[in-house]
Symmetry: C2
Subunit: 190 residues, 2 copies
Amino acid sequence: MALRNALLAALADRESSGYDLAKRFRGSVANFWTATPQQLYRELEKMEAEGLLSARLIKQDKRPDKRLFSVTEAGRAALLGFSRRSPKPTTVRDELLIQVEALAHGDVASVHASIREHREASRARLHGYEQRLAEILGERTDEEFLATGNRLGPYLTLQRGISFERENIAWADLALGVLARRFPDDSRYA
Amino acid sequence: MALRNALLAALADRESSGYDLAKRFRGSVANFWTATPQQLYRELEKMEAEGLLSARLIKQDKRPDKRLFSVTEAGRAALLGFSRRSPKPTTVRDELLIQVEALAHGDVASVHASIREHREASRARLHGYEQRLAEILGERTDEEFLATGNRLGPYLTLQRGISFERENIAWADLALGVLARRFPDDSRYA
DNA sequence: ACGGCCATGTAACTGGTTACATGATTAC
DNA sequence: GTAATCATGTAACCAGTTACATGGCCGT
């Protein structure tokens, strides 16, 4: 039920194809909702059938045809209704932290490598979020934007994504330091 | 498949009943994996059937009997194997941030209230994590613990939970400030 | 020649959520 | 007397994942 609302939020911003949405869910949306392309296509179909979205077909000749979805009046009403309900608590699922929790029962060198990969992935996402934020700000400072800008929602969710990834990186630095110190022999610290 | 590993990690620490585990999944485990009691009971059954866990029945007279699960040799091997695979990327699902993303299309006063509730929930979880951390540390400082302590894994995952909740609170403060400034009339800021 | 991008989807499966059910004990 | 805690589960449903399929264009 919440995936619909994430889609309505994304489409309220601008009309998009399923493929477009898949990219946005890999990019900035990922910081508060994850979904695979298959989930999106399935949900878009349902939402169109229920009248929350309307689709128009764009014929292309050098590329496959595409369907651009946009939010209908019923869709806007559903989004407004959603904004009035109280949201479910955040859920986090992080396999890396399961590995870390069970550090004493696992392969330390391998967990060390996982933390490094995780840190790289966070750096990449952080970079993406910072770019999007720069696009939203344009020439303005944060202060100027906050006083007058009109994409406050995306600004705030990006800020949350940015602080999340910064903390991921800082935590990884701490964890790698602790492992290097406590297990100097059973892992290679390049 | 990952819920199994979260259960193995939790049970490697100490033998527990399903009910116990449900409490731990509401508490400290929630910071990296969420699961409902029903999921746990179902998964515990399967894991016992597959030989990853063994259960012993404890008869009680003032309370219902309970089954305490512990990790078998096969379970330990599975956990070691898991620590060697590369973990799937973190997934986050946060309905509040969907509401914030769609701020321009929703009810600002109601979203404001949701952010406040979310901040309260974060404060409560933060408090819980800090207490658990204090239990792990005992009389030692972080420095002393990091040099010699033996529950490094849980220490590190708690640190991640603590920084996550602190950032939730700081973000909520920012967001509430922005809303109060930009929408002074359509919400009540008590 | 090969991989990646554009663009859509189907089918089969696994995992997660919600509602319900039981029943004694303890705390306010 | 009311709610919370202890302790287990079933049934039905809904959401998420994985693997596969198609096919032309573009860059190296």
